[in-house]
Amino acid sequence: MSIISLKSLQKRYGRKKVLNDLNLEVTEGEFVVMFGPNGAGKTTLIRILSTLSRPTSGKVVINGFDLAEESIDVRNSIGVLSHNPFLYDDLTLRENLFFYSRMYGLKKDEKTIKATADDIGLLHRLNDRVGQFSRGMKQRAAVARVVLHNPPVLLLDEPYTGLDFKAWGTVTDMLMKFHKQGKTIFLITHNVELGHKIGERLLILVNGRIAFDSKKSDMDLEGFKEKYHGLMEAQR
Protein backbone atom coordinates (compact mmCIF):
# COMPACT_ATOMS: atom_id res chain seq x y z
CA MET A 1 0.00 0.00 0.00
CA SER A 2 1.25 3.46 -0.92
CA ILE A 3 1.90 5.73 2.08
CA ILE A 4 3.35 8.68 0.15
CA SER A 5 1.82 9.54 -3.19
CA LEU A 6 2.82 12.45 -5.42
CA LYS A 7 0.88 13.16 -8.59
CA SER A 8 2.04 15.78 -11.12
CA LEU A 9 3.66 17.80 -8.35
CA GLN A 10 5.00 21.18 -9.42
CA LYS A 11 6.64 23.97 -7.50
CA ARG A 12 7.62 27.28 -9.02
CA TYR A 13 9.37 30.26 -7.50
CA GLY A 14 8.38 33.00 -9.91
CA ARG A 15 9.34 31.72 -13.36
CA LYS A 16 11.74 29.12 -12.02
CA LYS A 17 10.38 25.58 -11.95
CA VAL A 18 11.92 23.82 -8.95
CA LEU A 19 9.82 20.67 -9.08
CA ASN A 20 8.64 19.63 -12.48
CA ASP A 21 5.70 17.25 -12.82
CA LEU A 22 6.89 14.90 -10.11
CA ASN A 23 5.17 11.53 -9.72
CA LEU A 24 6.13 9.11 -6.97
CA GLU A 25 4.61 6.29 -4.94
CA VAL A 26 6.31 5.14 -1.74
CA THR A 27 5.12 1.89 -0.22
CA GLU A 28 4.44 1.55 3.50
CA GLY A 29 7.57 0.48 5.38
CA GLU A 30 9.91 1.32 2.50
CA PHE A 31 13.32 2.96 3.10
CA VAL A 32 13.76 5.43 0.26
CA VAL A 33 16.93 7.43 -0.21
CA MET A 34 16.92 10.43 -2.51
CA PHE A 35 20.10 11.89 -3.98
CA GLY A 36 20.62 14.83 -6.22
CA PRO A 37 22.92 17.74 -6.92
CA ASN A 38 22.48 21.06 -5.13
CA GLY A 39 19.49 22.94 -6.51
CA ALA A 40 17.78 19.80 -7.78
CA GLY A 41 14.73 20.49 -5.57
CA LYS A 42 15.28 17.91 -2.80
CA THR A 43 14.78 20.28 0.13
CA THR A 44 11.82 21.93 -1.60
CA LEU A 45 10.27 18.47 -1.94
CA ILE A 46 10.81 17.67 1.76
CA ARG A 47 9.37 21.08 2.73
CA ILE A 48 6.25 20.37 0.67
CA LEU A 49 5.86 16.88 2.15
CA SER A 50 6.30 18.44 5.61
CA THR A 51 3.55 21.03 4.92
CA LEU A 52 6.09 23.84 5.35
CA SER A 53 5.64 24.95 1.76
CA ARG A 54 2.70 24.74 -0.65
CA PRO A 55 3.01 23.11 -4.05
CA THR A 56 2.13 25.25 -7.06
CA SER A 57 0.06 22.38 -8.45
CA GLY A 58 -0.35 18.64 -8.14
CA LYS A 59 -1.61 16.30 -5.47
CA VAL A 60 0.19 14.94 -2.41
CA VAL A 61 -1.27 12.24 -0.19
CA ILE A 62 0.53 11.02 2.93
CA ASN A 63 -0.83 8.18 5.07
CA GLY A 64 -4.17 8.58 3.27
CA PHE A 65 -4.46 12.30 4.02
CA ASP A 66 -4.56 14.91 1.29
CA LEU A 67 -1.91 17.53 2.00
CA ALA A 68 -4.05 20.39 0.69
CA GLU A 69 -7.17 19.49 2.67
CA GLU A 70 -5.94 17.61 5.73
CA SER A 71 -2.59 19.19 6.56
CA ILE A 72 -3.03 18.75 10.32
CA ASP A 73 -3.54 14.98 9.88
CA VAL A 74 -0.51 14.91 7.57
CA ARG A 75 1.59 16.63 10.25
CA ASN A 76 0.41 14.05 12.77
CA SER A 77 1.59 11.30 10.41
CA ILE A 78 5.11 12.57 9.83
CA GLY A 79 8.27 13.15 11.81
CA VAL A 80 10.72 15.59 10.25
CA LEU A 81 14.42 15.61 10.96
CA SER A 82 16.83 17.97 9.27
CA HIS A 83 20.28 19.30 10.13
CA ASN A 84 18.43 21.74 12.42
CA PRO A 85 17.17 19.96 15.55
CA PHE A 86 14.22 22.41 16.12
CA LEU A 87 15.00 22.34 19.85
CA TYR A 88 15.30 25.21 22.33
CA ASP A 89 18.83 25.71 23.63
CA ASP A 90 17.60 27.49 26.76
CA LEU A 91 15.34 24.62 27.82
CA THR A 92 16.47 21.30 29.25
CA LEU A 93 16.01 18.11 27.25
CA ARG A 94 13.12 17.17 29.55
CA GLU A 95 11.45 20.58 29.00
CA ASN A 96 11.95 20.32 25.23
CA LEU A 97 10.42 16.85 25.09
CA PHE A 98 7.52 17.87 27.34
CA PHE A 99 6.98 20.97 25.19
CA TYR A 100 6.77 18.97 21.97
CA SER A 101 4.66 16.22 23.54
CA ARG A 102 2.11 18.85 24.59
CA MET A 103 2.27 20.43 21.15
CA TYR A 104 1.46 17.03 19.64
CA GLY A 105 -1.46 16.66 22.05
CA LEU A 106 0.20 13.84 23.99
CA LYS A 107 -0.29 13.38 27.70
CA LYS A 108 2.35 14.75 30.04
CA ASP A 109 3.91 11.40 30.79
CA GLU A 110 7.23 11.30 32.67
CA LYS A 111 7.62 7.58 31.95
CA THR A 112 7.41 8.06 28.16
CA ILE A 113 9.83 10.99 28.26
CA LYS A 114 12.34 8.96 30.26
CA ALA A 115 11.95 5.94 27.97
CA THR A 116 12.47 8.15 24.90
CA ALA A 117 15.55 9.77 26.43
CA ASP A 118 16.85 6.33 27.34
CA ASP A 119 16.37 5.14 23.73
CA ILE A 120 18.64 7.89 22.47
CA GLY A 121 21.16 7.36 25.28
CA LEU A 122 20.55 10.74 26.90
CA LEU A 123 18.68 9.76 30.05
CA HIS A 124 21.57 11.08 32.17
CA ARG A 125 21.36 14.49 30.42
CA LEU A 126 17.58 14.88 30.77
CA ASN A 127 17.92 17.89 33.09
CA ASP A 128 20.68 19.63 31.15
CA ARG A 129 20.01 22.52 28.82
CA VAL A 130 20.15 21.50 25.17
CA GLY A 131 22.45 24.47 24.51
CA GLN A 132 25.16 22.59 26.44
CA PHE A 133 24.89 19.53 24.18
CA SER A 134 27.35 18.65 21.42
CA ARG A 135 26.09 18.64 17.82
CA GLY A 136 25.75 14.86 17.89
CA MET A 137 23.80 14.88 21.16
CA LYS A 138 21.50 17.59 19.82
CA GLN A 139 20.78 15.48 16.76
CA ARG A 140 20.02 12.45 18.94
CA ALA A 141 17.69 14.66 21.00
CA ALA A 142 16.09 15.77 17.74
CA VAL A 143 15.47 12.12 16.86
CA ALA A 144 13.62 11.78 20.18
CA ARG A 145 11.49 14.81 19.27
CA VAL A 146 10.72 13.32 15.86
CA VAL A 147 9.45 9.96 17.14
CA LEU A 148 7.68 11.26 20.25
CA HIS A 149 4.25 10.97 18.60
CA ASN A 150 5.14 7.68 16.90
CA PRO A 151 4.61 8.82 13.29
CA PRO A 152 4.45 6.18 10.55
CA VAL A 153 6.51 8.32 8.13
CA LEU A 154 9.93 9.86 8.78
CA LEU A 155 11.16 12.62 6.46
CA LEU A 156 14.88 13.24 6.84
CA ASP A 157 16.68 16.10 5.12
CA GLU A 158 20.46 15.79 5.43
CA PRO A 159 20.31 14.68 9.07
CA TYR A 160 24.03 13.82 9.04
CA THR A 161 25.27 17.36 8.42
CA GLY A 162 27.93 18.33 10.96
CA LEU A 163 27.94 14.98 12.78
CA ASP A 164 31.14 13.22 13.78
CA PHE A 165 31.74 9.56 13.01
CA LYS A 166 30.29 8.31 16.30
CA ALA A 167 27.12 10.40 16.10
CA TRP A 168 26.81 9.32 12.48
CA GLY A 169 26.71 5.69 13.53
CA THR A 170 24.22 6.36 16.32
CA VAL A 171 21.80 8.17 14.01
CA THR A 172 22.12 5.39 11.41
CA ASP A 173 21.42 2.72 14.05
CA MET A 174 18.32 4.63 15.12
CA LEU A 175 17.08 4.89 11.55
CA MET A 176 17.59 1.16 11.02
CA LYS A 177 15.69 0.47 14.24
CA PHE A 178 12.75 2.63 13.12
CA HIS A 179 12.78 0.91 9.75
CA LYS A 180 12.60 -2.48 11.45
CA GLN A 181 9.61 -1.19 13.43
CA GLY A 182 7.84 -0.71 10.09
CA LYS A 183 8.18 3.04 9.68
CA THR A 184 8.49 4.47 6.20
CA ILE A 185 11.70 6.43 5.83
CA PHE A 186 12.37 9.07 3.18
CA LEU A 187 15.97 10.22 3.48
CA ILE A 188 17.77 12.91 1.52
CA THR A 189 21.54 12.75 1.57
CA HIS A 190 24.60 13.55 -0.51
CA ASN A 191 26.45 10.57 0.90
CA VAL A 192 26.19 7.93 -1.80
CA GLU A 193 27.95 5.15 0.18
CA LEU A 194 25.73 5.61 3.22
CA GLY A 195 22.51 5.98 1.22
CA HIS A 196 23.28 2.90 -0.83
CA LYS A 197 24.11 0.94 2.32
CA ILE A 198 21.00 1.70 4.35
CA GLY A 199 18.34 2.41 1.70
CA GLU A 200 16.11 -0.08 -0.08
CA ARG A 201 15.13 2.15 -2.95
CA LEU A 202 17.34 4.79 -4.54
CA LEU A 203 16.09 7.91 -6.30
CA ILE A 204 18.03 10.63 -8.06
CA LEU A 205 16.39 14.01 -8.50
CA VAL A 206 17.77 16.18 -11.28
CA ASN A 207 16.29 19.53 -12.33
CA GLY A 208 13.11 18.89 -10.35
CA ARG A 209 12.43 15.52 -11.99
CA ILE A 210 13.09 11.98 -10.84
CA ALA A 211 15.83 10.95 -13.25
CA PHE A 212 16.53 7.58 -11.66
CA ASP A 213 14.43 5.21 -9.55
CA SER A 214 15.69 1.74 -8.72
CA LYS A 215 15.71 -0.88 -6.01
CA LYS A 216 19.10 -1.15 -4.34
CA SER A 217 19.20 -4.85 -5.13
CA ASP A 218 19.13 -3.99 -8.84
CA MET A 219 22.32 -1.92 -8.73
CA ASP A 220 25.64 -2.28 -6.94
CA LEU A 221 27.41 0.70 -5.35
CA GLU A 222 29.89 1.25 -8.16
CA GLY A 223 27.21 1.12 -10.83
CA PHE A 224 25.07 3.51 -8.85
CA LYS A 225 27.95 5.94 -8.32
CA GLU A 226 28.61 5.98 -12.04
CA LYS A 227 24.94 6.64 -12.78
CA TYR A 228 24.76 9.39 -10.15
CA HIS A 229 27.85 11.22 -11.38
CA GLY A 230 26.60 10.98 -14.94
CA LEU A 231 23.28 12.57 -14.00
CA MET A 232 25.03 15.26 -11.95
CA GLU A 233 27.06 16.18 -14.99
CA ALA A 234 23.82 16.37 -16.97
CA GLN A 235 22.41 18.99 -14.56
CA ARG A 236 25.53 21.15 -14.96
Binding site: S50, T51, L52, S53, R54, I72, D73, R75, N76, I78, V80, S82, N84, P85, F86, L87, Y88, D89, D90, L91, E95, F99, Y100, R102, M103, Y104, G105, R145, H149
Partner: protein
Amino acid sequence: MMGQALTIAKKDIKTEFRTKEMIFSMFIFSLFIMVAFYFAFYFYSIGQEKLEPLVPPILWITFCFAGMFGLHTSFSKEKDRGSLDGLMLCPMDRSAIYFGKIISNYFLILLVDISSVIFFTMFFSYDYNGNIIPVLIVVLLGTFSFVISGTLVSGIAVNSRSIRGVLIPILLIPVILLTVLMPSINATSKALEGNILDAIPELRILGMFAVIYIALAYLLFDFVLEE
Protein backbone atom coordinates in the same frame (compact mmCIF):
# COMPACT_ATOMS: atom_id res chain seq x y z
CA MET B 1 -5.76 25.03 19.94
CA MET B 2 -5.76 27.25 23.03
CA GLY B 3 -3.93 24.54 24.98
CA GLN B 4 -1.11 24.62 22.43
CA ALA B 5 -1.14 28.45 22.43
CA LEU B 6 -0.71 28.40 26.21
CA THR B 7 2.11 25.86 25.90
CA ILE B 8 3.92 28.16 23.44
CA ALA B 9 3.37 31.16 25.72
CA LYS B 10 4.69 29.29 28.77
CA LYS B 11 7.73 28.16 26.80
CA ASP B 12 8.39 31.73 25.59
CA ILE B 13 8.10 33.22 29.07
CA LYS B 14 10.28 30.50 30.59
CA THR B 15 13.05 30.96 27.98
CA GLU B 16 12.75 34.74 28.24
CA PHE B 17 13.27 34.73 32.00
CA ARG B 18 16.32 32.51 31.49
CA THR B 19 17.95 34.64 28.80
CA LYS B 20 16.35 38.03 29.60
CA GLU B 21 17.24 39.11 26.04
CA MET B 22 13.93 40.67 25.04
CA ILE B 23 12.80 42.02 28.38
CA PHE B 24 16.19 43.53 29.18
CA SER B 25 16.44 45.39 25.87
CA MET B 26 12.86 46.68 26.19
CA PHE B 27 13.48 47.71 29.78
CA ILE B 28 16.69 49.61 28.95
CA PHE B 29 15.09 51.20 25.90
CA SER B 30 12.10 52.50 27.86
CA LEU B 31 14.47 53.83 30.54
CA PHE B 32 16.51 55.69 27.92
CA ILE B 33 13.41 57.21 26.34
CA MET B 34 12.37 58.51 29.78
CA VAL B 35 15.87 59.91 30.34
CA ALA B 36 15.74 61.64 26.94
CA PHE B 37 12.36 63.21 27.77
CA TYR B 38 13.59 64.17 31.22
CA PHE B 39 16.59 66.10 29.88
CA ALA B 40 14.55 67.66 27.08
CA PHE B 41 12.08 69.05 29.59
CA TYR B 42 14.71 69.86 32.21
CA PHE B 43 16.51 72.32 29.94
CA TYR B 44 13.25 74.01 28.95
CA SER B 45 12.20 74.16 32.64
CA ILE B 46 8.77 72.77 31.87
CA GLY B 47 6.45 73.05 34.84
CA GLN B 48 3.96 70.50 36.17
CA GLU B 49 1.10 72.36 34.49
CA LYS B 50 2.67 72.23 31.04
CA LEU B 51 3.69 68.62 31.61
CA GLU B 52 0.11 67.46 32.22
CA PRO B 53 -1.07 67.27 28.56
CA LEU B 54 2.24 65.68 27.54
CA VAL B 55 1.97 62.73 29.93
CA PRO B 56 -0.22 60.46 27.74
CA PRO B 57 1.83 60.92 24.53
CA ILE B 58 5.14 60.45 26.41
CA LEU B 59 3.85 57.25 28.00
CA TRP B 60 2.46 55.82 24.76
CA ILE B 61 5.52 56.75 22.70
CA THR B 62 7.60 54.89 25.28
CA PHE B 63 5.27 51.86 25.33
CA CYS B 64 5.13 51.77 21.55
CA PHE B 65 8.87 51.97 20.82
CA ALA B 66 9.94 49.70 23.68
CA GLY B 67 7.20 47.26 22.64
CA MET B 68 8.39 47.23 19.03
CA PHE B 69 11.81 46.25 20.29
CA GLY B 70 10.26 43.21 21.94
CA LEU B 71 7.97 42.34 19.06
CA HIS B 72 10.95 42.29 16.74
CA THR B 73 12.54 39.38 18.61
CA SER B 74 9.30 37.48 19.17
CA PHE B 75 9.32 35.63 15.83
CA SER B 76 12.84 36.42 14.66
CA LYS B 77 14.38 34.38 17.48
CA GLU B 78 12.30 31.36 16.47
CA LYS B 79 13.20 31.90 12.82
CA ASP B 80 16.93 32.38 13.40
CA ARG B 81 17.38 29.26 15.53
CA GLY B 82 15.15 27.25 13.17
CA SER B 83 12.52 26.41 15.78
CA LEU B 84 9.76 28.20 13.84
CA ASP B 85 9.71 25.23 11.45
CA GLY B 86 9.44 22.97 14.51
CA LEU B 87 6.33 24.85 15.63
CA MET B 88 4.87 24.85 12.13
CA LEU B 89 5.29 21.08 11.97
CA CYS B 90 3.05 20.54 15.00
CA PRO B 91 -0.39 19.13 14.20
CA MET B 92 -2.52 22.18 14.99
CA ASP B 93 -4.05 25.21 13.39
CA ARG B 94 -1.07 27.55 12.94
CA SER B 95 -2.99 30.45 14.41
CA ALA B 96 -2.16 28.75 17.77
CA ILE B 97 1.39 30.08 17.23
CA TYR B 98 -0.04 33.60 16.86
CA PHE B 99 -2.19 33.29 19.97
CA GLY B 100 0.70 31.85 21.97
CA LYS B 101 2.90 34.75 20.93
CA ILE B 102 0.15 37.23 21.84
CA ILE B 103 -0.02 35.83 25.37
CA SER B 104 3.75 35.89 25.93
CA ASN B 105 4.26 39.27 24.24
CA TYR B 106 1.41 40.78 26.24
CA PHE B 107 2.83 39.52 29.51
CA LEU B 108 6.37 40.76 28.77
CA ILE B 109 5.43 44.10 27.19
CA LEU B 110 2.99 44.79 30.02
CA LEU B 111 5.82 44.32 32.54
CA VAL B 112 7.87 46.90 30.63
CA ASP B 113 4.88 49.28 30.35
CA ILE B 114 4.28 49.13 34.08
CA SER B 115 7.96 49.77 34.75
CA SER B 116 7.77 52.77 32.35
CA VAL B 117 4.85 54.16 34.36
CA ILE B 118 7.06 53.85 37.46
CA PHE B 119 10.08 55.44 35.68
CA PHE B 120 7.86 58.36 34.72
CA THR B 121 6.87 58.89 38.35
CA MET B 122 10.53 58.77 39.37
CA PHE B 123 11.84 61.17 36.72
CA PHE B 124 9.04 63.71 36.73
CA SER B 125 7.79 63.40 40.35
CA TYR B 126 4.36 62.87 38.84
CA ASP B 127 1.56 61.22 40.83
CA TYR B 128 -0.94 60.74 37.95
CA ASN B 129 -3.32 63.07 39.84
CA GLY B 130 -4.12 60.16 42.13
CA ASN B 131 -5.69 58.34 39.16
CA ILE B 132 -3.10 55.61 38.71
CA ILE B 133 -5.70 52.79 38.69
CA PRO B 134 -7.74 54.25 35.76
CA VAL B 135 -4.46 54.93 33.93
CA LEU B 136 -3.33 51.33 34.44
CA ILE B 137 -6.70 50.07 33.14
CA VAL B 138 -6.12 52.03 29.91
CA VAL B 139 -2.54 50.74 29.76
CA LEU B 140 -3.82 47.14 30.11
CA LEU B 141 -6.34 47.52 27.30
CA GLY B 142 -4.21 49.67 24.99
CA THR B 143 -1.23 47.34 25.33
CA PHE B 144 -3.46 44.37 24.51
CA SER B 145 -4.57 46.04 21.29
CA PHE B 146 -0.96 47.01 20.49
CA VAL B 147 0.27 43.46 21.02
CA ILE B 148 -2.50 41.95 18.87
CA SER B 149 -1.63 44.13 15.86
CA GLY B 150 2.12 44.08 16.58
CA THR B 151 2.32 40.28 16.79
CA LEU B 152 0.60 39.97 13.42
CA VAL B 153 3.01 42.47 11.84
CA SER B 154 5.97 40.73 13.50
CA GLY B 155 4.81 37.45 11.89
CA ILE B 156 4.49 39.16 8.50
CA ALA B 157 7.99 40.64 8.79
CA VAL B 158 9.74 37.47 9.94
CA ASN B 159 10.46 36.07 6.48
CA SER B 160 12.04 39.26 5.16
CA ARG B 161 15.39 38.46 6.68
CA SER B 162 17.49 41.49 5.67
CA ILE B 163 15.01 44.30 6.40
CA ARG B 164 13.08 42.62 9.21
CA GLY B 165 14.13 45.17 11.85
CA VAL B 166 13.03 48.12 9.74
CA LEU B 167 9.91 46.47 8.40
CA ILE B 168 8.16 46.17 11.77
CA PRO B 169 8.05 49.94 12.51
CA ILE B 170 7.33 50.76 8.84
CA LEU B 171 4.33 48.42 8.80
CA LEU B 172 3.23 48.79 12.40
CA ILE B 173 3.22 52.55 12.99
CA PRO B 174 0.70 53.38 10.23
CA VAL B 175 -1.46 50.45 11.39
CA ILE B 176 -1.55 51.42 15.06
CA LEU B 177 -1.52 55.22 14.72
CA LEU B 178 -5.29 55.64 14.44
CA THR B 179 -6.40 52.26 15.77
CA VAL B 180 -4.27 51.98 18.93
CA LEU B 181 -2.10 55.03 19.65
CA MET B 182 -4.64 57.87 19.26
CA PRO B 183 -7.45 56.14 21.17
CA SER B 184 -5.01 55.08 23.91
CA ILE B 185 -3.58 58.61 24.27
CA ASN B 186 -7.07 60.11 24.45
CA ALA B 187 -8.25 57.48 26.90
CA THR B 188 -5.19 58.06 29.10
CA SER B 189 -5.90 61.84 29.13
CA LYS B 190 -9.45 61.15 30.29
CA ALA B 191 -8.23 58.61 32.85
CA LEU B 192 -5.80 61.22 34.23
CA GLU B 193 -8.76 63.52 34.79
CA GLY B 194 -10.36 60.72 36.75
CA ASN B 195 -13.14 60.13 34.21
CA ILE B 196 -12.48 56.58 33.03
CA LEU B 197 -16.13 56.26 31.96
CA ASP B 198 -15.63 59.16 29.54
CA ALA B 199 -12.95 57.06 27.84
CA ILE B 200 -15.43 54.32 26.87
CA PRO B 201 -15.65 55.46 23.18
CA GLU B 202 -11.85 55.20 22.87
CA LEU B 203 -11.78 51.86 24.66
CA ARG B 204 -14.51 50.67 22.31
CA ILE B 205 -12.33 51.60 19.31
CA LEU B 206 -9.42 49.68 20.85
CA GLY B 207 -11.64 46.62 21.39
CA MET B 208 -13.17 46.82 17.92
CA PHE B 209 -9.82 46.89 16.15
CA ALA B 210 -8.46 44.18 18.42
CA VAL B 211 -11.30 41.92 17.26
CA ILE B 212 -10.61 42.83 13.60
CA TYR B 213 -6.87 42.06 13.93
CA ILE B 214 -7.56 38.77 15.71
CA ALA B 215 -10.02 37.72 12.98
CA LEU B 216 -7.52 38.68 10.26
CA ALA B 217 -4.71 36.79 11.94
CA TYR B 218 -6.90 33.72 12.50
CA LEU B 219 -7.73 33.61 8.79
CA LEU B 220 -4.34 34.54 7.38
CA PHE B 221 -1.66 33.35 9.77
CA ASP B 222 -1.10 30.07 7.96
CA PHE B 223 -0.13 32.05 4.84
CA VAL B 224 1.74 34.71 6.83
CA LEU B 225 4.31 32.24 8.13
CA GLU B 226 4.94 30.48 4.83
CA GLU B 227 8.00 31.57 2.89
